[in-house]
């Protein structure tokens, strides 16, 4: 039987996908802004964030309305509650892209401390994880979600390497590099946080698909 409710769920899904597209774009643009030290792009990331904020409110109000009026259960319930959580994660991801853009504005007039190699690499991982988590959500694909979760340690490792390099090779040797090193250190931190949010989305997707909470547990503990 076709349900009117399904159309409303599709509406919620569409808005979440719009959120995901905007969040992905924000990471991509903020990384571009950093690589080219382009203040205009950085500013556009900051300005575009209001669209994501507005969309977040729309999705949240919509989801609360569906919970109150349709009293969903089973897969419907899991989809809506997961949608609400993913909504919040995407908004945080976009905020972190804004943070990266703000770091760009701090260093745009200064020469780069070093050629950027690892930070774009970390950004690629972050984008891949966000895209992977959203694909897992769209396709209800537990395997894809697991792949996202399993790639998080790689992001952590890269962030640590970036941090060590900036500390040991630059800041500890020459304190005057701090004004250019700290923003890069923070960018690495922001990117790594994006990966954490992508991991959260992937965990939420597993809950949606399998009705099993995997947060704060190792995947193996959850029967793979």
């Amino acid at each position: 039987m076709d349900r009117h409710f399904d159309k409303e769920l599709i509406g919620l899904n569409t808005n979440l996908l719009k959120m995901a597209t905007l969040a992905e774009e924000a990471i991509l643009k903020s990384t571009e802004a950093l690589k080219n030290r382009d203040g205009d792009i950085a500013n556009s990331v900051i300005q575009d964030d209001t669209k994501i904020d507005e969309l977040e409110n729309i999705v949240e109000e919509n989801a609360i309305e569906l919970l109150a009026l349709k009293q969903p259960i089973a897969t419907d319930l899991r989809f809506i509650t997961t949608g609400m959580k993913i909504n919040a994660e995407l908004e945080r991801i976009a905020d972190l892209a804004v943070n990266i853009a703000q770091r760009v504005l701090e260093i745009e007039d200064q020469p780069l401390l070093k050629p950027l190699i690892d930070i774009p690499k970390l950004s690629e991982i972050a984008q891949k994880m966000v895209r992977g988590s959203i694909d897992a959500f769209i396709e209800r694909d537990e395997q894809k979600a697991k792949e996202v979760i399993l790639s998080d340690p790689e992001a952590d490792k890269l962030r640590n390497e970036i941090q060590e390099e900036l500390m040991n090779k630059y800041m500890l040797k020459d304190g005057t590099t701090a004004t250019r090193a700290i923003p890069l250190l923070l960018v690495a931190r922001h990117l790594e946080r994006i990966c954490d949010h992508a991991t959260n989305i992937a965990e939420d997707v597993i809950y949606m698909v399998r009705a099993r909470v995997v947060r704060h547990k190792k995947l193996e503990e959850n029967g793979k």
């Binding site: 039987m1 009293q71 259960i73 089973a74 897969t75 419907d76 009705a211």
Partner: protein, 252 residues
């Protein structure tokens, strides 16, 4: 540890040629609420009415398999059906008070069972009305006609009447379907209280009600028990596709 109150094994039931219940197996736990859901004609009321052999009154019916209450076969030839119905009380969809006073409605079952001493009857009426969360509303007008009560109060009066004879199990066939939301909420609250003393089996068409009040849920379809599990499991992640379709309204 959960104690089984009613054990159902390979239970079948027929109305003449019509096979109404097919190989039903389930255990009903003591002091828990079992919600029975399923589309109209799926056998849920038939199942309920078998627990106190209410279907005996229908000609041409036949049961096979076993249904035990505390290990005793409900369908045994030597089962005293009157005693069984004292142990297994029933509340119907439509409240059906007798054309008597509020007091006499509750006292009726006691008197039929031979308890005539005034003090005991008065004590039991008060206790039952309190148990049914009706006492405060009627204590000053116990001699008024039961028909003066509102629909929700009449239904609670019927629950009080069932409680008076100290049953062990309460069967409820859509007890709140004709009531407004406030009266429904009162009945639902009451069920949560009653399960401390009684084992409750409730048939309901209202999914949210089943989710709110039952500890276990059984989903029947076409006379078969499709899925039986903890209510939390059925309503968040049912095992069978057909259960999911039914509870989310995709069915049909």
């Amino acid at each position: 540890m959960l104690k089984t109150k009613i054990e159902v094994k390979d239970f079948n039931f027929f109305y003449g040629d019509q096979h109404a219940l097919k190989d039903v197996n389930l255990n009903i736990c003591k002091n828990k609420v079992l919600g029975i859901i399923g589309p109209s004609g799926c056998g849920k009321s038939t199942f309920l009415r078998n627990i106190n052999r209410m279907n005996d009154t229908i000609a041409g019916t036949r049961a096979s398999g076993t249904m035990l209450i505390d290990g005793q076969n409900i369908f045994a030839e030597n089962m005293d059906v009157v005693e069984l119905r004292r142990r297994v009380g029933m509340v119907f969809q439509k409240s059906n008070p007798f054309p008597k006073s509020i007091f006499d409605n509750v006292a009726y079952g006691l008197r039929v069972n031979g308890r005539k001493d005034k003090e005991y009857v008065e004590h039991k009426v008060e206790e039952s009305l309190k148990g049914a969360a009706l006492w405060e509303e009627v204590k000053d007008r116990l001699q008024a006609s039961a028909f003066d009560l509102s629909g929700g109060q009449q239904q609670r009066l019927c629950i009080a009447r069932a409680l008076a004879i100290e049953p062990e199990v309460l069967l409820m066939d859509e007890p709140a379907s004709a009531l407004d939301p406030t009266a429904t909420a009162k009945i639902e609250e009451l069920i949560q209280e009653l399960k401390k003393k009684y084992t409750i089996v409730i048939v309901t068409h209202n999914m949210q009600q089943a989710a709110r009040i039952s500890d276990y849920t059984a989903f029947f379809m076409l006379g078969e028990l499709v899925e039986y599990n903890e209510t939390q499991k059925i309503f968040t992640n049912p095992e069978k596709e057909i259960t999911e379709e039914y509870i989310t309204g995709r069915f049909g």
